[in-house]
């Protein structure tokens, strides 16, 4: 088989045989570009390689088995409708699962399962992969037995069934839920290998429910004295959280729907609170009670946990807003680039104070930055997807993303956070994440500065 440019039909693409030039030559071309000598060498190698391939394996020269041979799925009958009555992901997607971080907690009923951000697209978290955090295990509560009570500083203390609540006018909004401890493992040093464990206590869904303000209005809440609400869960932990009234009236929802289906049991079925922009623990699951009160409640998770130890020895209490943050999810720690060339750097950005304004990406450890494309929709207190074109030349690098929100707040470096808050915090680490890229294509978790 010979290749003559004159006789090759126009428009016909011929795939280059693999490894037809040496790595050294390839590096030389990457480094210095093609000149006449190198071009000639390239031509000669290509022809030689094609000849060798043709002699060695007819199939390789003609094309790929995947195209040339008929496949089972072309030649036999596929599965009937409703073979999976409630659909499941392809079995090939099995690697992407919620996972625990070994050693994080001693008991799985009071633990976290991290969402596999490294495999996500867009901004919506699939329901089966929304991260889980339980304090005393989860139950699949019978919706017919579930009740919501509103009491405290209200004209009429009321009880609602699921039937009641779902009769009310509902709204659907896309918001992120992030645990206050997300990225907390990294306050001191790099501790975990992949974005699933550094940032996987994060999810974003379309939630459907009734605004809490509607229920407070129905009960005649005393908005003069009632400056706070207490939200309480119906599980064994009876999770309780204080929420300031202005926030409660603004965009807090009493939620039953998640991405078009009912909440999953692991996410609070049949009813949860959603407090947009605020650490996930306030979005109380299995919500059973709302109390209107005139002072904060200092419940366990706002008096012992979710408090930030400052260098002065003082704890900051009620630190709840999730500040502007972003992370590159692909490529990210624990991933392997196969080859040089074009890639799409992609990640997520979000802010508890509103919309994302822009995201900058650096591939050289923060020395130089390029502005990333923000994909639509860009929503308040929701994940925004960003993308950046990138041609990797094979040299080592450090990939970072830095988000700015509509208030002008710029995501800080870990060093800047530590300068103010010290190193002993657990919660609210919104530092810029860095992924080191080696010449072998492997990415690993590092901290810069």
């Amino acid at each position: 088989m010979t290749v003559k440019s004159k006789t090759t039909p126009i428009g016909r693409l011929r795939r280059a045989p693999e490894n037809f030039v040496t790595q050294q030559f390839a590096d030389e071309v990457y480094e210095h570009g093609l000149n006449e000598t190198r071009r000639g060498f390239l031509r000669k190698s290509f022809v030689t390689a094609l000849g060798a391939t043709a002699a060695g394996s007819a199939i390789a020269a003609d094309g790929e088995k995947a195209i040339l041979e008929k496949q089972t799925w072309q030649t036999t009958l596929g599965q009937p409708v409703a073979a999976n009555p409630y659909g499941m992901p392809s079995k090939w997607e099995a690697p992407l699962q919620r996972r625990e971080s070994p050693g994080l907690t001693r008991v799985s009923a009071a633990s976290v399962a991290f969402a596999p951000l490294q495999g996500f697209f867009g901004i919506i978290t699939p329901n089966g992969l929304h991260f889980e955090r339980h304090h005393q295990g989860w139950y699949d509560i019978d919706p017919a037995q579930h009740r919501l009570m509103v009491n405290g500083l209200v004209k009429q203390q009321k009880v609602f069934t699921m039937d009641d609540l779902m009769r009310l006018p509902s709204v659907s909004r896309i918001h992120f839920v992030e645990c206050g401890a997300n990225t907390g493992l990294e306050w001191g040093n790099v501790a975990v290998p992949s974005v699933q464990y550094t940032h996987g206590m994060l999810s974003c869904c379309e939630f459907t429910g009734v605004p809490l303000s509607v229920l407070l209005d129905m009960c005649g809440a005393d908005l003069k004295k009632g400056k706070y609400i207490l939200a309480e869960g119906g599980d064994g932990s009876g999770m309780t959280r204080t929420i300031p009234m202005d926030l409660a009236l603004k965009d807090v929802l009493v939620v039953w729907g998640m991405n078009g289906e009912m909440l999953r049991p692991e996410n609070g079925y049949p009813l949860r609170l959603l407090v947009p922009g605020v650490q996930g623990v306030s979005s109380v699951k299995w919500l059973r009670r709302i109390e209107v009160g005139d002072m904060p409640y200092a419940a366990k998770d706002e008096a012992v946990h979710y408090i930030d130890l400052m260098p002065s020895g003082l704890h900051r209490q009620y630190t709840t807003i999730q500040e502007c943050k972003s992370v590159i999810t692909t490529p990210s720690g624990g991933q392997q680039l196969l080859d040089k060339g074009f890639y799409n750097i992609s990640g997520m950005a979000w802010s508890g104070r509103g919309k994302i304004k822009h995201v900058d990406v650096s591939v050289d450890g923060g020395n130089n930055w390029r502005r990333a494309r923000l994909e639509t929709p860009v929503l308040s207190k929701a994940i925004t997807r960003f993308n950046l074109d990138w041609v990797w030349d094979g040299s080592p690098g450090i990939l970072m993303s830095r988000a700015t929100d509509e208030t002008g707040y710029v995501q800080p470096m870990i060093k800047q956070l530590r300068e103010v808050r010290g190193t002993r915090s657990i919660y609210h680490n919104n530092a810029i994440q860095a992924w080191k890229l080696d010449t072998n294509g492997e990415l690993s978790n590092v901290q810069v500065g």
Binding site: E93, P95, L96, P102, Q118, M149, N151, G152, V159, R167, L168, N189, V190, A191, P193, S194, M218, E232, G236, G238, T240, L247, E291, M295, A298, A299, K300, A303, V304, I307, G313, L314, Q317, Y318, T319, I321, T330, G334, Q335, Q336, L338, D339, Y343, G365, N367, W369, G394, R402, T404, Q411, Q416, R421, H428, A434, T439, G441, L443, N445, Q447, V448
Partner: protein, 353 residues
């Protein structure tokens, strides 16, 4: 003045009336939704106890009773002296008599204390009462009486040497105990993270080029931790622009190249016989009991009953197809179905299920 006061009064009344009207509208707008909670219902659920002790039920318990409760229901997780770190972080430790005077835990200023215990952190004794009563014991929450809760909380406080060994804690004296809490002055709400309008404490700038002279890596993942979360190759999609790193092996020495395949993460599918039957479209022609396009499962089972080589014979038929036995419509060949799957389904059919 008089007129002005009257006017104000009128305005206030008008405002009240408006408020009532607005509420009236809200209530009538959603007619029939929800009902008034009974007193007993509110009492059953409204169990929270605030820092001003609103919600605290009357009762008391001494440390002797507290020790009994502790040893029977708490010590297995929290240790005999509340010091255990086996299941949860320790409750007791790291506080001093001096802390009780100042209301600030001195050991929070350094890292000398290996663990930040509950009593080092908690500022309000109400928090402990509320949490023990609502959520403890961990595996049997809400099974302690108010008196037992007083007793066991008193015992914890005695272990921390905040109250004497023979103390009786009650709703009457708990406010006095609050004055002894070692970290009662250790909380601040003066920060910008309570509401979305709060001022952030860190102010970064968005430099775009030549931002740093020297990029210093401060921390990297230790080698031993590379595989501590199991093989990352099995936690990534086995196709697309990136693979998961095979963390069971040392890093690859050079770029793997296009089309690299990693360890397959997909375990063999294990389906029940009836699921296999449906998956392979057998159910399209064969119903359980009645003749459809082909014979029913029951008919097939009856025909082959007692035949020693039934599985072999039928399997061959499924594989190759057949015609003329059960009617005019031939059974197509099923060469693509694995022998193992066919055997599972044939055995299941022959069992007559």
């Amino acid at each position: 003045m008089f007129k002005l006061a009257n006017l104000t009064k009128t305005l206030v009344l008008a405002g009240l009336a408006l408020g009532l009207t607005a509420e009236g509208i809200a209530q009538s707008k959603y007619t029939g939704v929800g009902r008034e909670a009974t007193k007993a219902e509110v009492a059953a659920w409204d169990i929270d106890v605030r820092p001003d002790f609103k919600g605290l039920p009357a009762g008391s318990g001494n440390t002797l009773r507290g020790q009994e409760v502790w040893e029977g229901r708490c010590a297995s997780c929290h240790g005999t002296f509340g010091e255990s770190n086996e299941v949860f972080t320790p409750i007791v430790g790291g506080t001093t008599k001096e802390d009780m005077k100042t209301g600030r835990v001195a050991s929070l200023l350094s890292d000398k204390q290996p663990q930040r215990t509950t009593l080092m952190k908690v500022a309000t004794v109400s928090t402990l009462w509320d949490y023990i009563y609502r959520a403890m014991p961990w595996n049997a929450p809400r099974t302690l009486t108010p008196d037992d809760t007083y007793a066991v909380l008193g015992y914890i406080l005695a272990m921390a040497e905040i109250v004497p060994d023979d103390f009786t804690l009650s709703d009457k004296n708990i406010a006095e105990v609050q004055k002894l809490m070692p970290n009662r002055n250790g909380m601040t709400q003066a920060h910008g993270m309570w509401t979305e309008r709060g001022t952030p404490d860190v102010k970064a700038t968005a430099c775009m080029s030549n931002c740093t002279k020297h990029v210093a890596i401060g921390s990297t993942l230790p080698d031993y931790a590379r595989n501590a979360h199991e093989n990352l190759a099995l936690q990534n999609r086995p196709f697309g622009p990136y693979r998961g790193v095979d963390t069971t092996k040392p890093p690859v020495s050079k770029l793997p190249g296009k089309g690299m395949m990693t360890v397959s993460a997909v375990a063999a599918e294990v389906l029940s016989p009836d699921a296999l039957f449906k998956k392979n479209n057998c159910a399209t022609c064969h119903a359980p009991a009645s003749h459809a396009i082909g014979p029913s499962i029951a008919q097939v089972a009856a025909k082959y009953k007692g035949q020693a080589d039934a599985v072999k014979k039928m399997s061959a038929k499924v594989k190759a197809g057949g015609a003329g036995v059960w009617g005019a419509i031939p059974m197509p060949p099923h060469a693509h179905v694995s022998d193992a799957d066919i055997e599972v389904m044939v055995k299941w059919m022959l069992s007559g299920k």
